[in-house]
């Protein structure tokens, strides 16, 4: 049955929370294992920037929304992703990971995605953004959050991640509903959208930014001593949820993203992983200042509950 988006919007408005609802100075920060503490900063920093990237993605989708309700939902999601990033920054501060007012920099691969989003995301169609952003949410956001929730015993972190997870479950519900909606378009429209999207050179640049990001995050997870299967489980979830709807399956771009997910989780697919891992290595050699851009939307992160 189709989702009632008006009800969903009302629910989103009813379930709002703020940084000020959380007692950031409450005891529990000391419960983090010192070994984990050392590794956590770059990991959380990546997570925070991926939330920020998701936020920008939703901002682009709000522009393409076919109805005022969906537009408003995406505007809320845009802000909620920003809130998640803010909350993660506040956790880093709680755990003493930030020097003064420091906002940690993104890694090169995230930065490349930031640059791409800044330049091209508003020009992408909803059928492209609406299929790729959910993968980022499921795979990266979802998997990384799940990992931290399991590993970090700080009760405040648990509270924060519980709230973020509740938000994310609504995001995913809408994401798949919209994919289902897009899948209802006739073959001609779906084909034009798909072919029209792929003939843009910007999409090729986007793909070259997106593809190494997944492998890079896998490497980061492994470096943390975590089983990469956790990430793969999340990627597989994108496919398993999508497969439930025949209309989602009809979306060519869903098929591409989903198939690509299949390659990512299959480590023995050297045809895919060799070039992509090489790309990760190559991008890691890029001097950060060369790609570092600071669009205004990426400069709005704050750990302060009040302003």
């Amino acid at each position: 049955m189709a989702m009632d988006l008006d009800n969903m919007l009302q629910m989103i408005k009813d379930r709002q929370w703020a940084l000020a609802d959380i007692d950031w100075d409450a005891p529990g920060a000391e419960l983090i294992d010192p070994e984990l503490h050392a590794k956590l900063k770059p990991f959380l920093s990546d997570l925070m920037w991926i939330e920020n990237v998701g936020a920008r993605g939703f901002a682009a989708m709000a522009r393409k929304a076919p109805t005022p309700t969906l537009k408003s939902i995406y505007e809320h999601f845009h802000a909620e992703e920003q809130k998640h990033a803010n909350a993660e920054l506040a956790l880093m501060r709680r755990w003493g990971m930030l020097e003064g007012d420091e906002i940690p920099s993104p890694n090169v691969n995230v930065q490349l995605v930031i640059n791409w989003l800044d330049q091209y995301s508003d020009g992408m169609s909803l059928s492209f953004l609406g299929t790729v952003i959910p993968m980022l949410e499921v795979a990266l956001d979802g998997a990384l959050l799940k990992f931290i929730t399991d590993e970090v015993k700080d009760p405040i972190a648990q509270e924060v991640f519980k709230r973020i997870n509740a938000d994310e479950s609504r995001h995913l519900a809408v994401d798949f509903e919209v994919m289902d909606m897009l899948g209802h378009a006739d073959l001609r429209k779906r084909t034009i959208d798909f072919v029209g999207g792929w003939i843009k050179p910007s999409l090729l640049i986007g793909t070259l930014s997106y593809v190494p990001l997944l492998n890079k995050m896998r490497d980061n997870i492994v470096a943390m001593g975590v089983d990469e299967e956790r990430l793969y489980g999340a990627i597989k979830r994108y496919k398993s949820v999508g497969e439930r709807s025949e209309y989602v399956r009809r979306l060519p771009m869903y098929r591409v993203v989903s198939r690509h997910g299949g390659w990512v989780v299959n480590r023995s697919n050297t045809l895919y992983h060799f070039p992509v891992d090489t790309l990760v290595k190559v991008t890691s050699l890029i001097p950060f200042p060369l790609v570092h851009r600071t669009p205004a939307w990426s400069q709005e992160l704050t750990y302060e509950p009040t302003a």
Binding site: K13, L19, E75, H76, K83, D122, T306
Partner: protein
Amino acid sequence: MTHSVAIIGAGFAGIGAAIRLQDKGIDDYVVFERDTRVGGTWRDNTYPGAACDIPSRLYSYSFAPNPEWSHTYSGSAEILGYIDGMVESSGVAPHIRFEHTVTGVVYDADAGEWTISFEGREPERARAVIIASGPLANCSFPAIRGIEDYEGHKIHSARWDHDYDFTGKKVAVVGTGASGVQIVPELVQQAASVKVFQRTPGWVLPRINTETGEFTKSIYRRIPGAQQLARALWFWGHESVALGVVWNTPLTRVVEAVSKLHLRLQVRDPWLRRQLTPDFAAGCKRLLMTSDYYPALQRENCTLVTWPIARIAPKGIRTVEGVEHQFDCIVFATGFDVSKTGSPIPVTGLDGRVLADEWSGGAYAYRSVAVSGYPNLYVTFGPNSGPGHSSALVYMEAQIDYITDAIGQLLRNGWKALDVRADVQEEYNRGIQRRLTATTWNSGCSSWYLTDDGFNATMYPGFASQYVGQLRTVDLQDYRILVHEEADAAAVAAG
């Protein structure tokens, strides 16, 4: 005692109607005003920077030309002075009853009279009623979650608190419509910081407001026809804009391009430009005319906040990105409670029919001024009388001329009532709604022009000249003419 005419409201429309009644020799009229002074919208809207975005030469009555306008576009104080001047020079002042809040009007079909009731006063009766209370008369704080919990100072743009000192204060402005974009450039000069909460950006066009020199004023004073010529030039200039603003045409894209160029020239940061770029057709919501707003937004002490508002907390505004923005004062520039469904005051017509019930799905009228079943009752700025591209005063002048003509005929001929025919009214509205489908207002944005169901009961889909043209003559064949029984009997006897 029964008055010939009762006018409800002493704003631009009420005062204009009174003057035109006098001009037509109808002196037995009374104006009921709930406040203690005239001026309506321009009495209420005294926020810093309040001004009209239509040139004064056109935002005035042609029967009351004013050679003394100080600028092309006038501020609220000068416009209020113009209304005061009209009251003084026309002799309508003795007819105005202040502090008379009308609570309802009921038609007495036997007598052919209306009973007007008031808050705390005895009712009065009149042959004809002109509801000139206007669409921009009532305002309230918006229904934002938690607004009642806010502990700081709250100000509504239409009820400005002139005693509040903004110096050194942290201020929020909620709303970026016509009032918001005028308030922000003033507040940033006084307050320590200003955060502007925007839900939807509007199309902004530059406004070049030049001072009118003494020489030009003397030309207007001395040369007959100079003011009329200037007014005509402004009128036709605005008429040409209708092609891009009223209808969604290729010229609409030109209006958008001019606005985007204005934005490009005034705002350097691409993200801020994106936040300020509308995603609806220009004209769909009211165009904003200002050259000061974008520079004000970029001042050191000003920030544009586009995150959706989650709720208002005791100390400030919580937005969905999780931050509580704290303030000493919140200014709500959120507009007016425009009546698009229901009636501005309770009106009971023939056979006990209630106007609010008939208009519950969206207001409608005949040529925006009369409603079938409510004889001798007229409204100014009624359903589908809003201009998107021209001066409301041009439209209002046509309405009051038409209404006072109709009332003049009623009184001169000793008729009991003029009641517009239901079939004519229906046909008129079918045409209006059909024509509205091609306009920018119905092109997909949500605005105060539309009801929640998307019905447009507000705007007139055409040129100002068309609107004025349809109100030039009272076509009696469009009305049922009711006569008094004695006159009826006399007519039968004579026959």
